[in-house]
Every structure is written in structure tokens, then in C-alpha cells.
């Protein structure tokens, strides 16, 4: 398009072509050793003003000078020579007024580069007053530019103005993407010109050194692509290529570029650089089918317009960036606030999917914690997510992203991720595979190129590098890519990562504090029960002991009433002692570790029945034992305590029955397997069922039924510590039935934490929001009795 050098010719062999391409990129465009013929160049020593080099066409301006030409050039430049002291090294040309030479009125501009001053002369065009280009810019255009809302609209205003200023047939504004391809944002054109709006120019059209020159020298005019270059001659006879013409308006351009222009049917072209934050952001480029000369004033106005455009783009982009940053930060805050309100486990993130997805402008997101994952929106399946998590874990960077996964991940993973082309991932832990991942779908884009960027030109006789010849539209489908992750988005997730790490760390500290507090309370409790067991039990013993001694030594001398009172004292102290013992047992049950084993309840029931029969020889008890009784998975000692309590209760509360009937059978439901013990005893009212299992809750007067009120509380505590459930049914004077179930071994093991944190226990379902634990649904197929 507008590069000084255009590429894409071809050669006889790839090697030769590569070499020619490399040469193209190396073409010394700053030192062409020649100028365009529509003006005159004179280079002087910046210090003393002495002529150093000049273009050969001075000879036509100052004919018949012969060997005196350098001296005559110095002579005619004398009126403007002193202006050089005001020039700033490296800056573009400034006007030095006009000179009349050989009857021609010429405009002189000058600039300084290093130790040299450059005078460039060209035909002067009179422009003044309201028609001065620069005036119209300031008067009308700036307010218009400020009113535009978006960058492409701004570009449309500018290309229209640039076209009006220059009179060129076509004027385009385009922006370079990350790969250097130029995307046309706006154009203004006359009839007969091809439209390029929405097209892309391949990056190879402008080689790197041309881009660099665009960054330094903001305007470049080629008045006639058919021009004959005018050589530059040094006074001391050196080669003309010793003169750096980076800032010279008359600089001659590469012949390859002139060929490119002719292929494009463009005989005149002008480019104005758009520089944003010091980088070449894009170009405004004007073309005309016919040669076209522009006055100094017009060129200055165009350059000025380019600067205005640059500033406006910079301001608009910065505005957009600030707005975007604000938006992303608000989303980050919303996410973190939600998490901080919850238990701060990372899987809670998917409970508030809106901000999470908007933060990454993603179609789906997932939280991957080791071998568990939670997802929201459109994501790959669970297996793929876990594989992705494993792959991410091997990467050191805390933030990883790709908008073309197929190129960046192993082929097997890429295949599994089919349909997803973009991934943005942050790692939350250095020790664990804890990742939050956003997904973007593949977007198949149609890119319209101004000419096929991949095309290998047909063989030509000539082996010299030629620029491409076709500028007709060429459409390409670009697949395997997602929308790119912007630096703002990447930055935002980095911030989110920091915040999450903060929240997680804080929560971990809180947990540690709670654990410490729990440990302390536990210690206190232990000390308390130790004290109770030693200090409370001793007085009971003393009371009973001394009452015994009194009864034994003085019993004969005491009245019957005194003897009865002392018997009460003894019984009361004995009961208090039992209470203390029962309480201690109860608290031990809550603290001691459960040692699991497979328990055959058949023999256990046999032993307990025999025990009860031995203790109640005077009673008639019909034992109905429905075999087979199940095997249970639990602590044998604790379970025996629980079952003994239930059996002993049944025996105790059937005491008024002439014939007690106690039925023991297996139960099984979705909570597990267990035992049921039913009796025909005194029963209870169902409205008290809630009180039944509480410590010290008794439903009967102690005269009728002795007891500590701890038995059923112990049963419940034991069963619940196994993750099981207790149940009771009763009817006054009809009987009662107590049952319990324990989860089977398979259920208990499925629930047991496998990882290092409670947050990682839920491995059952993909996308499930429910945390693991006792409340988690149990699989219906694992209900068979433990075997």
C-alpha cells in the first residue's frame, strides 16, 4: 500500500526469494542518494553553513554555472542560511520563507539532522487568508473531531478533510493490528477508485524499516510514481548515499515501492503517520490516479491534521481504557465481595456467574481445584477441565492465556477442547492445582484482504523482487481463534487473582484461629471432665463410705426411720456417682476416635440378650430376633454401647408387662443399614419424641424407671458420629420402637475427605454447587448391606 518498499515478488527458488525479501527489509531507504524531481535539495554544514551536498537538478535552476555551481548555490541560499540556527536537531522541516531564483518563486523549508542542515526548495503556491489550509483546520475541524464518539467515526471526519485539503481521489485511514496487518477504518473516495473499507493490507506490504521511518517522519509525498530520481552529489565527491534523508520531504523512495504504486494504479500518494503513545498506530493514506503536487502549506496542514488525529485517538483510547478498567475493577470487586461473604471456598465463584463471565467476556468459566471442578456457562466437559488443570499446573506463570489453543496446547488436549479457542487461566496456589479458567469460543472470521496475502506470484522472467500486483479483494476464513484477550482483561484477572489469594489466605488464617480456639476449648473440656471425674466422684464415695460405716457400727442402735434416712443418703450418693460416671462416658464418646471395623450384629445381639436375661432372671421376655441381622461398619465398642442402651431400655420399659416382647430386626433405607428394637412396653407420647434423645431428658418418674437420662443421648451421639441417623416411635402403653442406620462402608468411604481441604471433597458431580459432607446426596446403588 504505502510502504516505501513493497514486497511479495518472487524468485526462481525459495532461498533466492527469502534473500530478496530480506534485502527488501534491508533496503537503505533513508539514504537513497537521490531526491524526487519536483524540488531542489542543498545540505550544508550546520555550524559554518558551507555547502556539503546538493541535488543535480540545481544545474537547471542555475544554468551555465559549471564548476562554480556549489558556490552559486551558497550564494542564492545566503538570505536564508542564518535560519538554520533555529532548527532543532531531528525535528521535521520548518518554513524559511521564499526565494526568487532565475525568475521562479520558490518556497524554502529547512531542518537539521546531526551536523547537517538541509534546505529544500519547491515551487511556491500562494495561499493566504481564510483559504489557508491550517486556518480551516482550526476553525471547523477540531470542534467536529471533538464531537465524535468513537475512533472510526473520528477517522471518517479526518479522511474527508484530508481528501478535501489535498484533492486526492481516495483517502483512507487504517490501523495496524498486533501482527502489523493494516485494517481500513475509514475512507473517502471519488468515482473510479476501488473501495478498501473493511479490507486488510498484509503486514508484509510495509517492511519494518519503512514503519520505523513513518514513526520519525510523519508525512511523505510521492508526487508522481513515474518520476526520474535526481541524484545527490557531495561537494567533496563522496557518494550521494552518505546523506541521511530521513527527514527530507524530497527523499526519493524505493523503486519497488514505485512499482507497487503503479500496480495499484496510483501515481500520486501521500501518507501521514498516526502516532499514539510513541508507536505507529496507523496511517492516513491518500492516493490519486494522476500525479499530484501539494504545496508546503497543504502538506503542513495535513501533518498537523495527522497530529490532531493522533492526539484525539490517544485521548479516546485512554478514555476507553479507563472506562474499561473501571468496569473490570467493579466486576472484580463484585466477585471478591461475593466470595468474602461466603465461606471463601473458591467454588463459590460459580454461584455468581454474571460478574465472573463478564470479567473475562467469556462464554464459560470453571474453578478447578485439584481433582474437582465447578463450571458455569459453556465449558469443556469435566474430564477435559481436569486434564486442562493438570496441564496448567505444569506452567510456572500465574496467568496464562491463549486465543488460539490449537497452537498452544498439546494436540490431544486441543482436540478435547474443540470449539473452545480461547483460554485465560489464573493459578491461585503454588502448592495445589487451583485454577480459575475462562473460555472463549472459536470465532470463524472472514477477513477481506486487499489482495491475497499468501499468494505466491507466478513465475516471471525477471528474478528481481516485485511487489504484489493484485489489489482486488481476497476473502479468507480465519478459524481456530477466539477474540483476543486484551491487556486490560489480563490485568483484571491478575488483580482478581491477588484479591482471591488475599481472601483465601485470610480465610485460612481464620480457620487456623478457630482450630486453635477449638483445641483450647477441647483442652479445657478435658481438664474439666478430669476434675469432675476425680473431684466429684470422691465426695460421693465419702458419703456412701461413711454412711455405710455408721450403719454398720451403730445400725442396731438407730431407729427404723434413721436407718431409712441413711439408706436414702446412701442411695442418693450412689446415684450421683452413677450420674458422674455416665456423664464421663458420654463425653468420652464425643471425643474418642472412631475405630472402624466390620461388625456382625448377630452375635452382638446374642451376647446382649444373654446379658439381659442373666440380669432379669425373674422376668419373662420373649425375644423375637429377625435374622439375618446386618453387618455394620463402625466402632465395635461404641456400637455395642449404643445397642446395649437400646436393648436395656426395651427391657426396662417392659417391666410392667407380664410377658415382655422385644423384637430386633434389620432396617435398611437410603441412609444406610441398621437395627430396629421394638417393645410392647410403656411407650411414650410422640409429642415428646424430640426430647427423647437429649441429655438428662426423662419421660418417666425416676421411681418407676431408674436411670440417668443419658442412655438415648449416648445412642444418638454414637450413631451421629458414624454419620448415621436415629429414629423413634412410641405410643403410650402400646410400646416403643427405636432404630438407627449407619451409612455403609462404601458410603462412608465415598464421603471421607480425600484431599487436604474440606473444600476439595466434592468430586461426585461435574458442575455441582453443593459442597461435600453429610448432607450430600448418596448414590442409590450403594444401599446393599456391607458385605
Amino acid at each position: 500500500m504505502n510502504g516505501d518498499v513493497a514486497t511479495l515478488g518472487q524468485g526462481p527458488s525459495p532461498t533466492s526469494m527469502d534473500r530478496q525479501m530480506a534485502q527488501c527489509a534491508n533496503e537503505p531507504i533513508r539514504i537513497p542518494g537521490a531526491i524526487q524531481p519536483h524540488g531542489w535539495l542543498a545540505a550544508v554544514d550546520w555550524r559554518d553553513g558551507a555547502l556539503v551536498a546538493y541535488s543535480e537538478n540545481w544545474r537547471t535552476l542555475l544554468p551555465e554555472s559549471g564548476d562554480l555551481l556549489p558556490a552559486r548555490i551558497e550564494g542564492v541560499l545566503d538570505p536564508v542560511r542564518a535560519a538554520r540556527h533555529a532548527w532543532i536537531d531531528g525535528e521535521g522541516p520548518v518554513s524559511c520563507g521564499t526565494l526568487v531564483i532565475g525568475g521562479r518563486r520558490l518556497h524554502v523549508s529547512g531542518h537539521r539532522l546531526g551536523e547537517r542542515g538541509y534546505f529544500e526548495l519547491e515551487a511556491d503556491v500562494e495561499e493566504s487568508g481564510n483559504r489557508a489550509p491550517i486556518y480551516s483546520l482550526a476553525r471547523h475541524l477540531v470542534p467536529m473531531m471533538q464531537r465524535t464518539a468513537a475512533v472510526d467515526e473520528l477517522c471518517r471526519v479526518v479522511v474527508a478533510e484530508m481528501k478535501r485539503l489535498t484533492g486526492f481521489g481516495r483517502c483512507l485511514a487504517y490501523r495496524f493490528d498486533a501482527e502489523g496487518h493494516g485494517e481500513v477504518l475509514a475512507e473517502a473516495l471519488d468515482g473510479g477508485y476501488d473501495a478498501y473499507a473493511g479490507h486488510r493490507f498484509p503486514a508484509s506490504d510495509i517492511p519494518p524499516q519503512a514503519r520505523e521511518l513513518y514513526r520519525l517522519n510523519h508525512i511523505r509525498l510521492i508526487a508522481d510514481a513515474h518520476y526520474e530520481p535526481v541524484p545527490v552529489r557531495f561537494v567533496d565527491g563522496r557518494d550521494g548515499t552518505a546523506l541521511d534523508m530521513s527527514q527530507a520531504a524530497l527523499r526519493s523512495v524505493s523503486p519497488v515501492h514505485l512499482e507497487y504504486m503503479r500496480n495499484m494504479r496510483t501515481l500520486a500518494s501521500m501518507s501521514v503517520s498516526i502516532i499514539v503513545r510513541g508507536q505507529l498506530w496507523g496511517l492516513v493514506s491518500c492516493h490519486d490516479h494522476a500525479p499530484r503536487q501539494l504545496s508546503w502549506q497543504t502538506r503542513m496542514a495535513c501533518e498537523h491534521l495527522g497530529q490532531l488525529l493522533s492526539l484525539q485517538i490517544e485521548a479516546k483510547e485512554e478514555n476507553e481504557q479507563v472506562t474499561e478498567q473501571l468496569r473490570l475493577r467493579q466486576l472484580t470487586l463484585a466477585i471478591v465481595a461475593h466470595l468474602a461473604d461466603s465461606d471463601a471456598t473458591l467454588q463459590r465463584l460459580v454461584e455468581e456467574p454474571g460478574p465472573l463471565l463478564r470479567l473475562g467476556r467469556a462464554c464459560g468459566a470453571a474453578v478447578i481445584l485439584n481433582d474437582s471442578c465447578w463450571s458455569v456457562g459453556e465449558t469443556p466437559d469435566r474430564e477435559t477441565l481436569l486434564t486442562l488443570g493438570q496441564w496448567l499446573a505444569n506452567r510456572a506463570d500465574p496467568v496464562w492465556h491463549s486465543d488460539r489453543l490449537a497452537l498452544d496446547v498439546p494436540p490431544s488436549l486441543a482436540t478435547a477442547l474443540a470449539g473452545t479457542a480461547g483460554v485465560l487461566a489464573i493459578s491461585i496456589s503454588r502448592l495445589h492445582r487451583h485454577h480459575i479458567v475462562w473460555f472463549r469460543p472459536e470465532i470463524v472470521q472472514t477477513v477481506v484482504w486487499a489482495g491475497n496475502p499468501h499468494k505466491t506470484p507466478t513465475t516471471e522472467r525477471d528474478t528481481r523482487l516485485h511487489p504484489r500486483r493484485s489489489f482486488s479483494s481476497w476473502k479468507e476464513q480465519v478459524g481456530g481463534r477466539s477474540l483476543p484477550w486484551t491487556s486490560g482483561e489480563v490485568h483484571a484477572v491478575q488483580e482478581l487473582r491477588q484479591a482471591l489469594i488475599g481472601v483465601v489466605l485470610r480465610r485460612a488464617e481464620e480457620m487456623a484461629e478457630v482450630a486453635m480456639e477449638l483445641g483450647r476449648v477441647n483442652k479445657e473440656l478435658e481438664a474439666f471432665s478430669y476434675t469432675v471425674s476425680h473431684d466429684l466422684r470422691a465426695p460421693m464415695r465419702h458419703i456412701a463410705g461413711f454412711v455405710d460405716l455408721v450403719l454398720e457400727m451403730e445400725g442396731q442402735g438407730l431407729s427404723a426411720r434413721s436407718q431409712r434416712y441413711l439408706a436414702h443418703v446412701k442411695e442418693a450418693s450412689a446415684h450421683a456417682g452413677q450420674l458422674v460416671d455416665a456423664l464421663l462416658d458420654f463425653s468420652r464418646m464425643g471425643r474418642s476416635a472412631i475405630k472402624h471395623a466390620s461388625i456382625h450384629t448377630g452375635p452382638m445381639i446374642d451376647d446382649l440378650v444373654a446379658e439381659q436375661n442373666a440380669m432379669n432372671k425373674d422376668r419373662r421376655i420373649d425375644w423375637v430376633i429377625q435374622r439375618p441381622l446386618p453387618r455394620l461398619w463402625g466402632d465395635p465398642v461404641l456400637l455395642q454401647v449404643a445397642v446395649r442402651n437400646l436393648v436395656a431400655n426395651a427391657v426396662k420399659y417392659t417391666r410392667p408387662r407380664e410377658v415382655a416382647r422385644i423384637e430386633i430386626s434389620a432396617v435398611e433405607d437410603e441412609t444406610g443399614v441398621g437395627l430396629s428394637i421394638a417393645d410392647n412396653g410403656v411407650g411414650f407420647q410422640m409429642k415428646y419424641v424430640g426430647k427423647l434423645f437429649g441429655v438428662f431428658q426423662r419421660l418417666h418418674q425416676s421411681e418407676s424407671f431408674e436411670g440417668t437420662g443419658i442412655g438415648l443421648a449416648s445412642v444418638r451421639r454414637i450413631v451421629e458420629r458414624h454419620g448415621g441417623q436415629v429414629d423413634a416411635w412410641g405410643e403410650p402403653e402400646r410400646g416403643a420402637r427405636f432404630s438407627f442406620t449407619l451409612p455403609t462402608r462404601a458410603m462412608q468411604e465415598a464421603q471421607a475427605p480425600e484431599g487436604d481441604a474440606a473444600a476439595e471433597t466434592n468430586t461426585d458431580t461435574h458442575g455441582s454447587l453443593s459442597p461435600g459432607g453429610a448432607g450430600a446426596p448418596r448414590a442409590a446403588d450403594s444401599l446393599s448391606p456391607d458385605s
Binding site: S533, G545, S573
Partner: protein, 152 residues
């Protein structure tokens, strides 16, 4: 020539009950009473207030677990760590069967562990059994002193 029984008990009422129980068990051994762990060690090592006592180890030490100054477990530990004392049978008497106490006592080499029953008759029976086993049936080590019983 019966060796004495060393009873280490801080609680006055427990002490009295234990002595009654010992009395009823018809043991002929003298009962030496000390009221805390430090005094027990003084007696055993013939130090402090007991520096002048005659030589010889007791037949058995009835040791309460919860004692002022030096507790029962510490006394037990010291006895087992002292060459001259380590063969003395030690019976731990305690108010309750707290699991950690039992485990620690056995780990430290206790010979028997008795939870004092609330029922006095059971208590007398337990003390009598202990006394008979440790003070009578066990072969008295040489050098034991015959002494009159204090409570008769």
C-alpha cells in the same frame, strides 16, 4: 518380718476410709502414711523429714493419682527410675478411670490400677485383695522391717 505398706493419700476422708479398709483386711503390715508426692519420695529416698528412718523398702506403695506438689504419676516415674526403688510394687488408687491416666500409669510400669468404688463394701474388698496379694503373697524382699500397726 513384714515390710510396711506405704500409703500416699492427700484426702483426709479417703485416708480414713482406706485405713478402715486396710484394717478390715486383717493385714499385719505396718502402714506408713504420707500426704503428698514429695513426702512419699522423701520417705522412699530417706531424705528430709524421713532421713532418719530405718533402712528398707515398703512391701507395696498404695499411691493416689491426684496429689499435691508431686502427683502420683510423677512419683511412679521417680520410683521406676531409681535403682534402689524400682522393684517396689506400686498400686495406683484413683477416683476415676480416665483413659489417659490408665494408659500413662501402665506405660510407667504400675503393678495394679484400682478405681476406688463408690460402694464402701466393694472398696474394702478391693483393698483387702490388694493387700493380700502385694503385702503378703509377694515374697518380701530382704531387709523388711517388722513394725506394729498404727491402727488397731
Amino acid at each position: 518380718m513384714l515390710k510396711p505398706i506405704l500409703l500416699v493419700e492427700d484426702d483426709a476422708r479417703d485416708l480414713e476410709l482406706t485405713l478402715v479398709a486396710l484394717e478390715r483386711s486383717q493385714l499385719a503390715n505396718e502402714v506408713i502414711i504420707v500426704r503428698d508426692g514429695a513426702e512419699a519420695l522423701d520417705y522412699l529416698n530417706r531424705e528430709g523429714a524421713h532421713a532418719d528412718r530405718a533402712e528398707g523398702n515398703p512391701a507395696v506403695i498404695l499411691l493416689d493419682l491426684k496429689l499435691p506438689k508431686v502427683n502420683g504419676l510423677e512419683v511412679l516415674k521417680a520410683v521406676r527410675a531409681t535403682e534402689a526403688l524400682k522393684s517396689i510394687p506400686v498400686v495406683m488408687l484413683t477416683s476415676s478411670q480416665t483413659e489417659s491416666d490408665v494408659v500413662q500409669s501402665y506405660a510407667l510400669g504400675v503393678n495394679a490400677y484400682v478405681v476406688k468404688p463408690v460402694d464402701f463394701k466393694q472398696f474394702v474388698a478391693a483393698i483387702a485383695d490388694l493387700g493380700v496379694f502385694w503385702a503378703v503373697l509377694n515374697e518380701p524382699p530382704p531387709g523388711s522391717l517388722r513394725a506394729a500397726r498404727r491402727y488397731e
